[in-house]
Symmetry: C2
Subunit: 421 residues, 2 copies
Amino acid sequence: MSTKLSQQIETLAKKAKLASREMSLLSTAVKDKALKDMAKALVNNQAFLMRENKRDLQYAKTNRLSSALIDRLTLNEKRIKAMADSLLEMVKIKDPVGEVIKTTKRPNGLVIKKVRTPIGVIGIIFESRPNVTSDCIGLCLKSGNAAFLKGGKEACYSNKAVYDCVIKALKSGPIPLDAIQLLSSTDREALHIFLKMDRYVDLIIPRGGEGLIRFVAEHTRIPVIKHYKGVCHTYVSSKADIGMARRICINAKVQRPGVCNAMETMLVHKDIAKKFLPVMIEDLKQCGVEIRADDKTRAIVKDGIKKASEKDWYEEYLDLILSVRVVDNTKQAIDHINTYGSAHSDAIVTNDKKEAAQFLKAVDSSSVFVNTSTRFADGYEYGFGAEVGISTDKLHARGPMALEELTTYKYIVEGKGQIRE
Amino acid sequence: MSTKLSQQIETLAKKAKLASREMSLLSTAVKDKALKDMAKALVNNQAFLMRENKRDLQYAKTNRLSSALIDRLTLNEKRIKAMADSLLEMVKIKDPVGEVIKTTKRPNGLVIKKVRTPIGVIGIIFESRPNVTSDCIGLCLKSGNAAFLKGGKEACYSNKAVYDCVIKALKSGPIPLDAIQLLSSTDREALHIFLKMDRYVDLIIPRGGEGLIRFVAEHTRIPVIKHYKGVCHTYVSSKADIGMARRICINAKVQRPGVCNAMETMLVHKDIAKKFLPVMIEDLKQCGVEIRADDKTRAIVKDGIKKASEKDWYEEYLDLILSVRVVDNTKQAIDHINTYGSAHSDAIVTNDKKEAAQFLKAVDSSSVFVNTSTRFADGYEYGFGAEVGISTDKLHARGPMALEELTTYKYIVEGKGQIRE
């Protein structure tokens, strides 16, 4: 590895760490003012942002990147406005720093408070979407953390432009600018070096495809919060309302198939299968969904259904494809989900409260749903006001992550001279 | 590495993972009954436990292990009774599993509950003290987790004896015995293999010396919660009550110097130094404490005080040695603690509320104290009823860790057919 690049990155990380202490002491008013200034700067610099974005788009076209990626990469007036609005939304969210989570008074008179505090330096490693730059700077700022960002090569001009706008907007204010870092080197070597900064970076949140996330998790000793994929299930119980089940399954599969909380597998109780599957599969086919099913399903609906392979049960299609299986009972549905799922978001449709309770308790996923769509697994939908990502890990944060999940806590103990006997 | 040993350990880990699902579903009554049965079994098998413990003590004597280690290793009637009592204490602690942390009702009618759940399989890697075996089995059981233990070679017979007692006591009951595993191989090879079980083990808590903990943290991809050391400070402000400061500092340094929450460095404001240091240092010397101080301290108290080196400020003595420094102001005390400390437990003695607030906010440690002794940084003293360890990490758990820290959460979302627009 290049020693010079190593030293450069270490210097930035060290600066971010020092600045994170100042960040942790900022008042809510100061942070909210900064968010508003940032939002204003983005809107006022639309022309500059779009000009720099064009350079990335040019590169993408020359290198024949996929149209989906080019779409994610593109900045226009509407999207820049949305980035600014997202920062203004953060102003409205309650500042988590300083919240007293719990107070205990001990028999010896000690008063023990568990108080929410920032984590320190948050590393965000992401791909393509330039709005991640402003979103993550905003979220880290509001939660009193320093942000250390590393974007992808494909969006390097756009990310730098957003970063420059933000820094310029904050230049005359009290925010320590060292607390906002964007790594200008976008290659793997820089990433490798960044992942070794465990002395300075307290947490990494990778945002992108499974390949990027696995690479990050496997090459660092810094704690990583992540989700690899969302293999989400909807289980239609024998006690389901068929009309409701049809609406929920269509929503979970079709409303936005390319996202992690879309349904990938539908499980159906055998006692409702004959009545439910023909109408449901007809609905799905009308929406252009390809079905891959087990033999029991194919015995009921015979036309145009591919046989699912063992591999299909593990698959995150992110597309208009659905695997379907008939199960003997709720226990088998739960076991299927715990075996093949990704512990992301799974739903049951049932009118039986006892069955729902069994499912909710036994399915080991970050979000479990009764009589609604897995598509609701989302920070905005949960009322968090913002989302840094979704975690399928179990430590620190699980499910949609927002400002609270960017904090830790400390114990504050107040005495009057007590000593330990 | 031996393939056979690898396969053995993987089989155990896989069994623990499967059993952890059953554990997560157990009722509080069932878990409490098991804790009582375990406590009874320990007391009823005193003779057996002490006989097996003798084999470890024999080995320790033959290999001339330190008398401190032999003391920690020794089981007697009183200590076995204490192990049983500790399990009975856990019966009294509230079961954290199933607790609803927060309920939100959304505008669309969805009810979102954040519910506490077990983590899964907890790996505990520990040295010498055989009571850790029963404590950790009890804590994991009460929190609905599977426990996978690996003790040290020096206590292998004692640990196995405790484990055998527990397993025999639970044999006829509903607890899945696969959820309690003790690795019989105690060597480094077994540890290496164990650390690779990231598919099955959800969290590792190492308990022991800094060497063991660093080894664990550096050789696994499983999340580790730990503290390396406790370099704890007491800062005596210019606004301190001198009598109170003397009592607090003596308690923090002398009451039990060999533990992680004992004071290692005393910081004194320059305006109180001339009045405070002579009496304080006299107190400390009378208790047999060796002082290593900066030049400003040595200008005030001239006799028999060694000069502190830069290295001393980082040192966890775990002994009757104290480093002492005079500081110009509170800011300098805070900077000293954030620079040289280990983010464990740090105290200020002051009658000035504003100064106390500044210290509490800016010192980045898991526990911060005003007008009391750092020795109170402890799960029992905080009212948790039990302690798995203390974390100086910032992710997931910080400070004393008890049952709640052995849990995660999931979101339970209840709808009436809502779909996402």
